[in-house]
């Protein structure tokens, strides 16, 4: 509640109640959940003591039952069609976006917006598959923390586009999680690293995960994490290194045709060899194929290094671009934080060290640092008192624009604009009497629309007929703090308006999510109602307490009559809270919410004024 959070330090509001919130790193290869406990960010292990949950889902039957994690991973080569690995690579992607299809053992179904995979449990979208992983992490957290979560911060690669972000948010909702924020993975890592080391200055975060690569340049200054530039490749990661080894194996062992079982087997061997090369000069690969052929090979560092050199180069090009966007040189970077399991490869560490002219920082576990940072952010967003006052200022990773004449993309929001942001541009009609205008929203850096990602199409109708060029159509792009886009078009002379959350064309419709949620909760409807009532009551109590305290603290901003009105609404809510009538509580809650909205704005403004006048600028 805004009113609660605006209370001054030392003026305690409601009795302090720790709200359970977690940070989740939903990775391509592994996922983790972390939380802040006694002021320290910690990763939550499963009952066997494992921190990592392999991001692998195996569907078991037509009822949709599944197993997730190590047990699923073990079955990957036995049951390749139903065991989904690295589903993150398919998030928000259509069939045509996926390279290397031939190497994957799945039966893909091209569905509108996003690809699906046919399994024993039916066609599953990457959103549903990811939700299975998130459900396991949610259950782990609730068991470990002993209560229901108020929400989670979910991390996404910084270079994820709008469709991929929206798909991630949908997956979290499907898993029954309240998303407090989508947080960029390198930014999360910077939080964990920066707070741990009390760092100041400009840092680079080099994040090479299982399927994605991000590079972010951040300025850390007195608890403010300001992203200056970000770049990357949302389809480049450790998986690609495995595939280089896989292809080398096929070539060396002269294998041409492989069953899906053998593909998974060899890919697993390839990954093991890559990991072995981290600590050893050579790795042994052996596998018995279903044809009876025995593969027995030795991969040395001397062979591996040239095999992956072009992939290493593919990470340095975005690194150069991000530096240039930030207006900096490699020598300006104070420290380079390494994130993601793939940065364990000695060749990667050497290449990054050489590029920046310094030894990269590896003192935090590259597999855990993202989840640890996300937990710190979640703790803050949940309203728990945090040990450090922290602010994140992140950016739009890829330019957002509109299609104009001739199939060209006109950029409206340039990449690396700090979020939240809004940009407007005026367009006009090009035909006499034109009454509708088609708007095609795209994301990417290329000039031609065909080379950018198409996010949404919508039509502004009802433009009064005028001569060509007379209408003034103002198109506004608003990007929120999750990095998600909403577009509004308005004919300014008549006020005709059209609005779109970019979501429906690529993500799932709300109705679709509701259906999926219902399916997975069919027998738990009563629980849901009880849970909703209890959540509603907790929220309403907080609002009531906060409102009363705010009136006492900042009553000077209100007239006596306004004060009385708010206190009366708060009292009405208190009365409603004595019963269990959800509808009544909701109404009273909404009434108080409406009644205090303007007061909240006044307090926000007053606190801004205090921020400016309370300190001298040099103290800030």
């Amino acid at each position: 509640m805004a009113l609660l959070q605006l209370s001054e330090p030392g003026m305690s509001t409601a009795p302090h109640q720790h709200r359970l919130a977690v940070g989740i790193d939903l990775g391509t290869t592994n996922s983790l959940v972390a939380t802040v406990r006694n002021g320290l960010s910690v990763v939550l292990n499963d009952v066997h003591g494992h921190a990592l949950l392999p991001s692998v889902v195996r569907y078991l039957d037509a009822e949709g039952r599944s197993e997730v994690g190590y047990s699923a991973l073990d079955k990957a080569s036995v049951d390749p069609h139903n065991t989904l690995i690295s589903a993150k690579r398919f998030m928000g992607r259509g069939l045509k976006d996926l390279p290397d299809l031939a190497m994957l053992p799945y039966h893909f179904v091209d569905a509108p917006g996003m690809v699906q995979v046919r399994t024993v449990a039916g066609a599953k979208s990457p959103v549903e598959i990811s939700a299975e992983i998130l459900k396991v992490l949610r259950a782990r957290a609730e068991a470990s923390l002993g209560g229901e979560l108020v929400g989670a911060v979910i991390t996404v690669p910084a270079y994820f586009d709008d469709a991929q972000r929206q798909a991630t948010k949908d997956a979290a909702r499907l898993a029954g999680l309240t998303v407090l924020r989508l947080l960029n993975e390198p930014t999360a890592a910077a939080i964990a690293y920066g707070l741990d080391n009390a760092s100041e200055g400009v840092f680079a975060v080099y994040d090479l995960g299982g399927g994605t690569f991000d590079i972010s340049i951040l300025r850390l200054s007195r608890g403010v994490f300001e992203v200056l530039a970000t770049n990357g490749d949302s389809a480049l990661g450790g998986d690609d290194f495995d595939r280089r080894i896989y292809c080398w194996m096929l070539e060396q062992a002269a294998i041409s045709v492989l069953s899906d079982h053998d593909k998974q087997l060899l890919l697993a061997r390839a990954r093991e060899a890559k990991e072995a090369l981290t600590d050893h000069p050579s790795a042994h690969l052996s596998a018995m194929l279903s044809s009876g052929q025995f593969v027995d090979l030795t991969l040395t560092e001397a062979v591996f290094t040239p095999l992956i050199e072009s992939l290493v180069g593919k990470t340095l090009a975005p690194t150069k671009k991000a530096l240039r966007d930030a207006g900096l040189k490699a020598a300006d970077i104070q420290g380079v934080v390494m994130v993601g399991g793939s940065t364990r490869m000695p060749r990667i560490q050497a290449a990054v060290g050489e590029f920046f002219g310094q030894t990269p920082l590896t003192n935090l576990d590259p597999d855990k640092v993202v989840a640890l940072g996300a937990a710190i952010q979640a703790n803050l967003l949940a309203g728990n008192r945090a040990e450090a006052d922290m602010l994140l200022l992140d950016v739009v990773p890829l330019s957002l624009g509109l299609e104009t004449m001739g199939g060209l993309a006109e950029k409206i929001v340039p990449r690396n604009t700090t979020i939240p942001c809004a940009q407007a541009q005026e367009f006009t009609t090009y035909k006499d009497g034109q009454t509708a205008m088609n708007l095609h929203v795209v994301q990417g850096e290329r000039e031609r629309v065909a080379d950018c990602r198409s996010l949404a199409q919508f039509v502004l109708r009802g433009i009064p007929p005028m001569v060509a060029g007379a209408a003034r159509i103002r198109v506004t792009f608003q990007v929120d703090a999750d990095g998600l886009l909403a577009v509004t078009a308005r004919e300014t002379r008549t006020g005709v308006e059209a609005h779109i959350e970019v979501k429906p064309s690529y993500g799932l419709h709300d109705a679709e999510i509701a259906r999926m949620l219902k399916e997975s909760n069919a027998n738990a409807l009563a629980d849901v109602a009880a849970r909703q009532l209890s959540e509603l009551k907790v929220d309403a109590e907080r609002l009531r307490d906060a409102s009363v305290i705010a009136v006492h603290a900042d009553g000077a901003l209100l007239s006596a009559a306004e004060q009385t009105t708010i206190l009366a609404l708060a009292e009405a809510l208190a009365v409603a809270l004595q019963g269990d009538d959800a509808a009544l509580i909701k109404r009273a809650n909404e009434a108080l919410n409406r009644g205090t909205a303007e007061f909240a704005a006044l307090r926000m403004d007053a606190s801004v004024r205090r921020a400016l006048t309370g300190h001298r600028l040099e103290d800030l």
Partner: protein, 171 residues
Amino acid sequence: MDYFALFGLVPHFVLDRVALDAAFRAMQAEVHPDKFASADAAVQRQAMERATLVNAAYQTLKSPVARGRYLLQQQGIEAFDPANTQMSSAFLMQQIAWREQLETAQERADAAALDHLEAEIAVAAQQHEARLAALLDERHDHLHATETLRELRFIEKLAEEIHAAFDTLDG
């Protein structure tokens, strides 16, 4: 809302960047949506709108071209009015020379030549900013300020093209 007033600054082209950065961060620390993550939708929306405004104001004041344009707009002058494109012939000649250098460097994928051009452009930008400071803050000569600002905008666009050319070289 006047952007300079928002940050407690005097409306000048010459700007204390340290003070701007500090005021920007102090203000975002108050209004950013992260501070209202568990608030109701209406308050979250307000926070987003305020944080958006603070970001827009910061972007405008941070960039010399946007700041100059904003100062002129406050005087009722639209510097980039398409109807007004006057520039000195000397600068037009210079533009052509720079463009040719850029094209040649691109054709030859010559990073050293791009570096050289980038440095030359940076000097020109500094000179223009100094001139703008004098024209806007001291002489209040809006006519010449407008022309200088248009030149500076050209320089900024050229710098962006050089930037893009480097990106292309990096692949």
